[in-house]
Symmetry: C2
Subunit: 405 residues, 2 copies
């Protein structure tokens, strides 16, 4: 093993005390005092490791290790140090501090890479304090406008612009000013697949296409006692059928997901048949054409409800295309996992990550490690010392591979 397993674990444990909560979690929302303390610690460690630290105008941190030829595009890796308000110790943090361990291990072995290496801490990945999530990497990738994002406001009415000014981490560098040869991100899976398959490393091939809709069904309100069943146009019945079909559509397609997370009924009393039921539909698949075919099958079911007399409307309020990661990055991760002797499998990310956005402007690759019971965004988020080390070791080897001229 090239990396130092115990040093990495000690680094993770030490950093987790910053914003640490009594239940074993971490509360370190973006650009708060806790986030500043977490950044201060990280930057001090970077400087101890000889890295040159810079910040851009949205407070993203870039810590550079020189290469043999600094005219070559740098290889970047990293993730984010901010957490959910009831977050864990590893979501994002493993990618940043695992990256720091890679830098330290390269120093130990006095390795000089062809390309310069840049370790990144993206600002406001979580989106819990300032909506949207993956805010800095989204600006970097041209998805969000910097000026719009500065006006994002937290629950206490403070804008992100004000929080950035107060953070001490606002630099003068334009966001997106630096280009990279590629970007790697080590992250916990945040799902149950690797653990349940007993696999040590997930080689991430891309991310799911996603579609979010509101579905509104209008039937006819009437009295629960005086309206015999054959006279009803009960929006609740149409909802039950459509929820069942959404789940069945996803169950029938490998790697598909369908989630109905929220339902509103109007009126909402026990003895009145509701005239309106509205629910959310979240559908995902790693292939956009398959996702569209799933949505078409759901639309067929909506049409069947219209034929029964209901008004049914599906309004998409958000969508994001599937991402295929660069074959060279995916291959480098797969090769690194194999060379290090870890069991591994391909996996598509069902969640958003900084790399998923940056994939639009730069080659990216991701490494997943299992987390206990798939639990994340929760103080119970948990990985072992060995799982953390495996992720950092694969990152080290992939960095060596991809940093060659």
């Amino acid at each position: 093993m090239y990396i130092d397993k115990d040093r990495l674990w000690e680094t993770l444990e030490t950093h987790a005390r910053i914003g640490g909560t009594p239940d074993g979690g971490v509360c370190r929302e973006a650009l708060t005092a806790e986030d500043k303390a977490g950044r201060d610690c990280f930057v001090a460690w970077c400087r101890e490791a000889g890295l040159e630290v810079a910040y851009d105008k949205i407070c993203t941190i870039y810590a550079t290790r020189p290469g043999r030829d600094d005219s070559l595009a740098p290889l970047a890796f990293g993730s984010h140090l901010d957490t959910q308000p009831t977050g864990g110790k590893y979501d994002g943090i493993l990618g940043v501090l695992g990256g720091l361990e890679v830098m330290r291990a390269l120093n130990d072995k006095q390795v000089v890479t062809d390309r310069p290496l840049v370790l990144i801490d993206w600002t406001n990945e979580e989106g819990s304090r300032f909506v949207p999530s993956m805010l800095a990497s989204g600006i970097y990738s041209g998805i969000f406008s910097y000026e719009d994002m500065l006006r994002a406001t937290d629950a206490r009415g403070m804008t992100l612009g004000e929080a950035a000014d107060a953070s001490g981490y606002k630099g003068s560098e334009e966001i997106g000013a630096r280009s990279f040869h590629a970007l790697l991100e080590l992250h916990i899976e945040q799902g149950p697949v690797l653990e349940s398959r007993g696999v040590e490393i997930g080689v991430v091939t891309g991310s799911h296409g996603m579609s979010w809709s509101h579905v509104t069904i209008n039937g006819k309100s009437s009295h629960a006692g005086t309206t015999p069943m054959p006279y009803r146009l009960d929006a609740m019945g149409a909802m039950a059928r459509l929820v069942g079909i959404a789940h069945n559509v996803a169950n029938a397609v490998p790697d598909a997901c369908a989630t109905v997370g929220s339902i509103v009924t109007i009126p909402s009393t026990y003895n009145t048949i509701p005239h309106t039921v509205r629910f959310t539909l979240d559908m995902r698949h790693p292939d956009d054409a398959t996702l569209q075919a799933m949505l078409a099958r759901f639309e067929d079911a909506c049409a069947a409800e219209r034929a029964r007399g209901f008004a049914v409307k599906r309004e998409e309020f958000g969508a994001t295309p599937a991402q295929k990661f660069a074959p060279a990055c995916v291959a480098a991760v797969r090769k690194a996992a194999a060379a290090a002797g870890y069991t591994h499998c391909d996996i598509a990310s069902g969640a958003g990550h900084d790399c998923v956005y940056v994939n639009r402007v730069c080659d990216v690759g991701m490494i997943f490690v299992p987390c206990k019971d798939g639990i994340s965004h929760n103080p119970r988020e948990s990985i072992t010392r060995e799982q953390a080390a495996a992720g950092a070791e694969v990152l080290y080897r992939a960095v060596l591979e991809l940093s060659r001229a």
Copy 2:
């Protein structure tokens, strides 16, 4: 025809101006100034018709026409003059003013019945100002305690006791002090059955048994993107299956109803699988044993969800047994409808009515007339002059029949 169709219609239209709303509805909640004005008008008409008016301690009005033998138990008929806040012109009112028309028609023809006749306006049938509904008839029937009901409070914090004191209609007569030979009630159907069958009179044979439950499903919350379908324990899916089964159970049993009126999901975001879904279940059938069998079939479906790994709990928060009305009363209504030449059919009441409560302590019968589109508790509640007259005519004939010694 014994009754005066136009006089009845004029009476209904005149009274509907008291608390009348611009959209053609009536707002005359129990023991408000509008209800008092409606009572004042009704009592003046009763006195013009020679009736002796009395009130009991919950402000129910009893207007008596002497019989040939006042030692015989009186025959009573009536309903309620209070309305929902967005009520119509006929719900309850037709039963009271149709009863007044019966008294007037008997006077016109100088009929003397064997038994005395009592026309009743029950207090707070609607339950919109003071919960519960059918409050006065419920006390009369021994279902509610008078002392408890006096503490019922409206939205502005006024108790029913205070409202009764201020109404001018609180008498000293004990509630339930008078017994009746039988009680008849004319009412709009508040459902679509008679209209859609083209039937003029519904001969009410009794009322549905009813059961109200909260059903709570606990599954496992997880991320909508990182949790593949086979790893989910999605409470929304269990809900969709159980709602479908509740409807199917009712669809398979003649005269059964099942309604899911309200759903709550926790958490309620589009991209999280909810761990908890809670919904209301309203089940009804005219036969209690059949209702219990329906609930048992629903419980089987709950057990099937438990076998899938969900926790499922059904908690009944209310129930009321089915009522069979007295054969003599049902027969008198049926005979009256036939003799008057109206098409008629038997029907069970799916809603509560004053008569449904009083059936526990006294023989009762009910007469339904169709209402347009089955709409009630709504300014669009509508019946024709002919439908009102048919109801009052059947009431007149049934009163003649049942008032015989």
